[in-house]
Symmetry: C2
Subunit: 396 residues, 2 copies
């Protein structure tokens, strides 16, 4: 059975501690917005998968109870940075399999100090699952293993530069593009444009990545109402509905570790395989896409994902962004929202916020950042550890 | 479509720090045992819901990768003490809905210090979701809010005593029964019998609950292979298969908080509603059950659950356990494994370990603790915060 997104909502993403709210406040704001957008009452919701990484167990219930006390099942799910899309994928499976007609996917994060890799227990990076990935490479190459995510992606960027001649300016072009896009997004944590030179001149986080090429720490929430075809028809929601045409989650395979490549360790093979699966399931390909929200946790990952999604050949991604093919006026608009780099990246919310942006784009209601004539959108969300989720959305 | 458990496995549950293992070691041991029991290769597994509360995000992948690197979706789920059954419920939905033919549900916990209510972030009880439940009652009754789970259940026990005349000896009889059952369970953390007097004389944890009426802190893992009817037939697994006849998850409703009763706050209404749903779905009732694994985190909760499952009328549960109706030779055998009190309670594993015990019982392979002629079993797993999962299993 087909599934549709009929309502989305999100909070503005914010720098932690900049707003006086708890995770249940942000979840309520996003959840109520999504239900209002759909014109659906919480009492219609049959199950609620909730995504977050940093809060206590059953924080999902604590949040969802703000919307109502109907006693329906709540699942708290996490998959590092792919947490939001993991909740969305459960929602879709509940609906497409015929178990439910109306499911709310909710994601939020009130982020805490400490390395991302340490995960939900705020624990030691060295014993975290992500460390296993990096540890394999570290052992081979004699790296220090203490530093977290920025180093892993920085290493992947240097590998891409050495292997394909990718330049610092090409990496910086990703940051400049996404910051520029976010100027029109009231939900974005940052809304400031920067030139490529300004991005290059920003503080270095880990060579070659500067601060304006890295996603910040963020608080925020997002929600989506996922329903069956029958529900769309019965409630007359056709005008709002965006079809979830295909969706796939992949995890690491031997390929992730066997090659000795940092590009593989940060998940390009997972992304490539997830894209292959949704293209196969839908009969669509990269040439059919109009608008893409992808996981630019660091500028290098946007480039790696261009290649994984088949927007260009391996190694050509630096040239692709430089050509303007992935911004307004180009072949695709990638990260019209500003992406993780400028919109922000509350782990549990990101994957659902990507779907919210695409829903607005495919409805033609994205205002000043509307991608003209957008009919097919793709969301890509990845977490080290790992999980990659690719979702293909279409205006019916 | 119907779903079946065709393989189960678990580690012995252990006191934390008593064995030199990491969570992935225990998960591997349980997962391999379940696959071997089913005669199924990991390569046949199509999705893996993983339950745990205390480890980092994507710890599920870290554990599952020990079984193979096939790239299939892994979902990390948590629901406090009902975490294991939440993973099992996802597995069942994946299979019953026709999405998958073979799913592995895996649960583990390497428990950490600190109040349970603090949850996955090891955080402050006062800001945890559980505190919201207790906080409502605390505000009404002028209790101190600092102490965690044992106080909440102790308060419920005192309420039961005041309301129905339940005695300390009746509460202690639960502990004595479950410790006695565990003598025959090599997987149990404790395997020592105690008299009711010995249980009464043990150290008081929170009035009226003594140490031998409380589940301990435990490490351990459990796994179950859940498959479709087609898979059972194609692989010739009929002899091993136990049918998941019905299953329901409920969360809190207004009833949980409205009455001013601690019995309601600790989840009796959730349990009652989940039982009602599985009885309605299966056409079976308490009179059809032979063997029950239920959530005796504290002795009082076993009594509350007798009432929620309809084994007796409200208030009659103390007399029921004292009558011997819930042990070998009685109407039902409740917690033949020793229950949480004596088998142990690693949060992510408990709900799946209950299903493992029932699978052995319904196959007639439970050895010295076999319940003669058992054909129908019920598992009950509850987490404050909250979630209650009731699962009805049947020998086909």
């Amino acid at each position: 059975m087909k599934s549709y997104i009929v309502g989305v909502g999100m909070t503005k993403f914010e720098k932690p501690e900049s707003r006086d709210w708890q995770y249940w406040d942000m979840a309520k704001e996003a959840g109520e917005a999504a239900l209002a957008d759909a014109g659906v009452a919480y009492e219609d919701v049959q199950q609620v998968p909730v995504g977050y990484c940093f809060q206590a167990s059953t924080a999902g219930q604590r949040a969802v109870y703000e919307l109502g006390l109907t006693g329906v099942p709540v699942y708290n799910v996490n998959n590092n940075c792919a947490t939001g899309s993991s909740a969305l994928m459960l929602a879709r499976q509940f609906v497409e399999s015929g178990v439910n007609d109306c499911v709310l996917a909710l994601g939020f994060e009130k982020m805490q100090r400490g390395a991302l890799g340490g995960g939900a227990d705020g624990g030691d990076f060295k014993t975290s699952p992500v460390a296993r990935h990096y540890g394999i490479m570290a052992a081979r190459h004699g790296f220090e293993m203490s530093p977290p995510t920025a180093q892993i992606f920085g290493d992947a960027a240097r590998e891409h530069m050495e292997k394909y001649g990718t330049t610092p300016a090409q990496l910086a072009a990703v940051g400049a593009k996404n910051h520029r896009h976010s100027v029109n997004n009231p939900y974005a944590q940052f809304q400031d444009a920067y030139t490529v030179d300004e991005v290059l001149a920003a503080k270095t986080i880990h060579q070659p990545l500067t601060k304006l090429q890295c996603s910040p720490t963020s608080d925020g929430a997002a929600a989506a109402v996922v329903v069956s075809e029958r529900f769309v028809e019965e409630r007359g929601l056709g005008d709002k509905a965006v079809e979830i045409t295909a969706q796939a989650m992949t995890t690491d395979t031997e390929e992730s570790f066997a090659s000795g490549s940092c590009i593989d360790v940060v998940g390009q093979p997972m992304s490539r395989e997830a894209a292959r699966q949704v293209y196969a399931a839908s009969g669509l390909g990269p040439e059919d896409l109009d608008v893409i929200e992808l996981h630019d946790c660091f500028s290098i990952n946007e480039l790696l994902t261009y290649e994984a999604l088949g927007l260009c050949a391996p190694g050509e991604s630096g040239k692709l962004v430089e050509s303007g093919a992935t911004t307004y006026g180009g072949r695709w608009v990638v990260n019209p929202s500003g992406g993780l780099i400028s919109k922000g990246h509350p782990l549990g919310a990101t994957g659902i916020a990507q779907a919210a942006e695409l829903t607005w784009q495919l409805r033609g209601t994205a205002g000043a950042r509307q991608v003209e004539g957008a009919r097919v959108g793709l969301a890509h969300n990845i977490g080290l550890g790992g999980a990659a989720v690719v979702t293909l959305l279409r205006r019916p």
